[in-house]
């Protein structure tokens, strides 16, 4: 277990270094985009003259040299202060804290569903390879993978909310209903169904295909022959020997995607009017709300790094060979 703690510690140190690099790069990336908040605000205010814009810039510190702005920004971030959004007149941290839970609930549910269903379907396809069940799963996976995600969202919403009226078409909760406790949870859950399925379908397709391919490869390895020669039942061979080994590449890919899920649901959040980080990012870009945008970048970066570390740890648990080569 010492090796394990060591692995974890070394990963954390690397993560901190990566994070600093990300903060700096994000800052320059945002500033490389043409236009600044002062211009946008002035534009929105109507007939603004040069003097007003300059005044705004001075007020927000935008007239300072860029390295000075960077220094100020990093200093604040290290203290945990993500800045103040002048557009929304609120601290960035408050805005993020309000939006983050909605996104996490949506993406994590979708992720877990996609992983479970994908691995299950992929396994089924691999076990029944060459039969109609395998073909059906392959076709469904291909369709789910190839169809644009927002189109699936719109169609599901058209069918289940508008035609059948079973599920709410958009939103996070029933506005004005004022549910509390369990009733609130149930209300959010009902709203979750359509966006989660839409998002999960896409990722599920990938996992199903990956699991199938990986299982077919592992199935032909020598130790599976050994397992058969031991007289084990088909079910035990598949779960204990084939799937256990075939799952390794799935974990790798899932780990990468898990990090991206947080920032990658902009389309879904837009289609279903989901009040999450994705939509916040979209709005912040349109409004040149640098502080909010940088905050979102930081949070999503942390998520990616966090999930990568989690994946590494999980990998170490699943594959005993990893700790040695590390």
């Amino acid at each position: 277990m010492l090796g394990f703690a060591q692995l974890f510690a070394s990963r954390l140190v690397k993560a901190a270094a990566i994070l600093i690099a990300i903060v700096v790069m994000n800052f320059f990336l945002v500033h490389a985009a043409p236009g600044d908040p002062a211009m946008v605000m002035a534009g929105e205010a109507g007939a603004a003259d040069e003097k007003f814009v300059t005044q705004l810039r001075e007020q927000f510190g935008l007239d300072r040299p860029i390295y000075e702005q960077l220094g100020t920004y990093i200093g604040k971030v290290v203290q945990g202060d993500l800045g103040f959004s002048y557009r929304q007149q609120r601290p960035v941290w408050d805005i993020l804290a309000e939006r983050l839970p909605a996104t996490l609930v949506l993406t994590l549910t979708a992720f877990i569903l996609a992983l479970a269903a994908g691995v299950a379907l992929g396994t089924l396809a691999a076990v029944t390879v060459g039969t109609w069940a395998d073909s059906a799963i392959t076709v469904i996976a291909l369709l789910a993978y190839a169809t644009p995600i927002y189109w699936i969202g719109l169609m599901l919403s058209l069918l289940f909310s508008i035609q059948l009226g079973w599920l709410p078409a958009f939103g996070y909760e029933t506005i004005g209903a004022g549910y509390t406790g369990l009733a609130h949870v149930a209300d959010v859950a009902v709203h979750l169904i359509l966006p989660v399925i839409t998002l999960a379908l896409f990722y599920m397709a990938g996992y199903a295909r990956l699991t199938r391919a990986s299982m077919l490869e592992v199935r032909s390895l020598d130790f599976v022959k050994t397992a058969k020669a031991k007289g084990l039942t088909q079910g035990r061979i598949v779960t204990r020997h084939v799937l256990r080994n075939a799952i390794l590449p799935v974990i790798t890919v899932a780990g990468i995607q898990a990090g991206q899920l947080v920032g990658g649901s902009i389309l879904i959040e837009t289609v279903f009017a989901w009040p999450g980080i994705g939509r916040l990012a979209f709005e912040a870009v349109l409004q040149r709300d640098y502080q909010v945008l940088l905050g979102i970048f930081l949070v999503t970066s942390i998520m990616v790094i966090l999930f990568n570390i989690l994946t590494d740890i999980l990998y170490g648990l699943v594959d005993p060979r990893i700790q040695v080569s590390q």
């Binding site: 060591q6 020598d222 130790f223 050994t226 020669a229 031991k230 007289g231 020997h241």
Partner: protein, 563 residues
């Protein structure tokens, strides 16, 4: 003398009962489009209790297929049994329902495979893998199973069995893994043990240990054993009876002493004739002129692992390695896996840069040269690789593969291709070979292409790294003959790296024995084989299977792999 050690016959009592295994007219069909319709064609043999039956044949002879059919391991639905029966204690295994077959598998009939490195599940502790068998076939509760696993690991001669049961396979060496496989096969006290080339992937000293273990366990438990092998040395070591297979047909079947000492079928005779025998060393090589290559105190250390918080481990692959090769001389570098013999070979070709020492080629230190300076010497030293399947680019035509080297050194493409055809003819391939792709050739033919590719550069020194160990015995003989012929015709010097002492005896003038990164003994083949000075060399020679067996005199003078 010729009767020595192969006179073991199965006990009389066994022969009188019904045989343990009775294979009658077994045929196994290959899918349409295969090179022949039947993998196994009308095979009939029996296996008695307390008997070791060796099934001998080259790759594709159907010997493994037979074992797989018995274990229900045929790759269904493409390959299936198309006729005949497999009677276990009088009952047809093939007619049994799946559940009953499964209870035989691992229970009454157990199997050990060829590749110990891949035959164990890498993610499961070895104790559990053995326990699985017990869980399936016995009613033992979990603690009793664990105790039995430790007992089994102890019986196969593994140290610290209790600790070892908790280890993952990657912690174990090849020999240890094969012992684990044997323990797994023995778990439920099977009546029949099938061993499919169980020692082929192992070093010669490990092979001897495993053969001894298998033989003693078989005798102790009076099991019937079907031992599949291609090596007549191994056959001489353990067989009671022998079945020789070729192209799916049984060509010779009889008591071991008869088959080994009085082989009847021409194919058996050919196989026995191509068995390299270590007694036939060469006459001493007359060293002439200045040495072509001198390796002087070469040292190479590999850093393994390491990270931010961890120091890397140092592995000394070669230390104080010195040897000389004269023009026209063949130097054999012999040792077990991990002894550093390939490291030295690769250093000479320039694939690895040693940490210290000198490699002088015609007086120039290759290690002191920069990339540009080294380039002319790349021509002069060429390599033939071990795996003929992996060492040829599958997307290039054979002619291009051979011509690429000279073209890279500025030769005209047309001329190089014409020369490639000549070389392919020289290594015994017909003219159309140049226009075909590597996958259209067999292993032996591919190795010929590999040799032609090396010769295209007109080298002075050929480094051959285990050039025949991936090939069948008879093909092995042919490739060795070819190398020898070319060497003599072109007066090539050769560094021949091999783990097989018998092969080294056949082709080398001088032998260097390596162990753990050091050369422990170096001398003429005659000296090393007749008067080995080092204890390790002696143990290597001692471990050669079938030493006690004297190849019948009338097959001795046939050149290996008669054309």
């Amino acid at each position: 003398m010729s009767q020595f050690n192969v006179m073991r016959t199965p006990p009389e009592t066994a022969a009188m009962n019904t045989p343990l295994l009775d294979v009658r007219g077994l045929s196994i069909a290959l899918p349409p489009g295969a090179d022949r319709p039947l993998a196994v064609d009308n095979l009939t043999f029996t296996l008695n209790p307390d008997e070791i039956l060796c099934v001998v044949g080259e790759s594709g002879s159907g010997k493994s297929m037979t074992a797989h059919a018995m274990m229900g391991l045929l790759p269904a639905p493409h390959v299936r049994v198309s006729g005949g029966s497999l009677l276990f204690k009088g009952k047809d295994v093939l007619a049994m329902p799946e559940a009953e077959q499964r209870s035989l598998r691992g229970g009454r009939i157990a199997m050990v495979f060829q590749e110990p490195m891949t035959a164990l599940n890498p993610l499961m502790r070895v104790g559990r893998q053995i326990g699985e068998s017990l869980r399936e076939h016995t009613a033992l509760p979990a603690p009793a199973r664990r105790a039995r696993v430790v007992e089994l690991l102890d019986q196969v001669g593994l140290p610290n069995p209790a600790e070892l049961a908790e280890a993952y396979p990657f912690r174990l060496s090849g020999g240890q893994r094969q012992r684990v496989m044997i323990a797994m096969a023995l778990a439920c006290q099977p009546d029949i043990l099938i061993a499919d080339e169980p020692t082929t992937a192992l070093d010669v000293t490990t092979q001897k240990q495993i053969l001894d273990l298998i033989r003693s366990i078989q005798a102790e438990r009076h099991m019937g054993m079907m031992f599949i092998t291609h090596d007549f040395g191994v056959v001489a070591e353990i067989a009671h009876r022998v079945a020789v297979m070729r192209h799916g047909k049984l060509v010779e079947y009889g008591a071991a002493s008869d088959v080994l000492n009085r082989p009847q079928h021409p194919y058996t005779r050919q196989l026995i004739a191509s068995v390299p025998h270590y007694i036939e060393h060469r006459d001493d090589h007359a060293k002439t002129g200045a040495p072509l290559l001198v390796a002087d105190k070469v040292r190479k250390v590999f850093n393994v692992g390491g990270g931010l918080f961890k120091k890397s481990k140092q592995v000394v692959a070669g230390d104080d390695l010195s040897l000389t090769i004269h023009p026209g001389e063949t130097v054999g570098l012999v040792g077990e896996s991990g002894s550093g013999k390939s490291t030295l070979g690769r250093s000479i070709v320039g694939l690895i840069k040693p940490d210290s020492g000198r490699i002088l080629f015609e007086g120039t230190d290759l290690l002191a040269l920069d990339r540009k300076g080294f380039r002319p010497y790349r021509r002069a030293v060429q390599m033939v690789f071990q795996d003929p399947y992996a060492s040829l680019n599958p997307r290039h035509r054979v002619g291009d593969i051979v011509a690429q080297g000279p073209v890279a050194f500025g030769e005209d493409r047309g001329k190089a291709l014409a020369r490639a055809r000549e070389l392919l003819a020289m290594v015994g391939l017909d003219g159309s070979a140049a226009d075909r792709f590597p996958h259209e050739f067999s292993g032996g033919q591919r190795q010929r292409i590999g040799i032609a590719r090396a010769l295209a550069m007109e080298p002075k020194l050929l480094v051959a790294d285990e050039p025949v160990s991936a090939l069948d015995v008879s093909v092995q003989g042919q490739v060795l003959d070819l190398l020898d012929d070319i060497r003599r015709r072109l007066n090539l010097a050769m560094l021949f790296i091999t783990h097989d002492l018998r092969v080294a005896a056949q082709v080398c003038d001088t032998i260097a024995v390596m162990r753990r990164g050091k050369i422990v003994e170096m001398g003429t083949a005659r000296e090393v084989f007749t008067h080995p000075r080092d204890a390790y060399t002696r143990s290597l020679l001692d471990a050669i299977p079938g030493k006690a067996w004297h190849i019948p005199d009338d097959l001795q003078n046939v050149p290996a792999g008669a054309h």
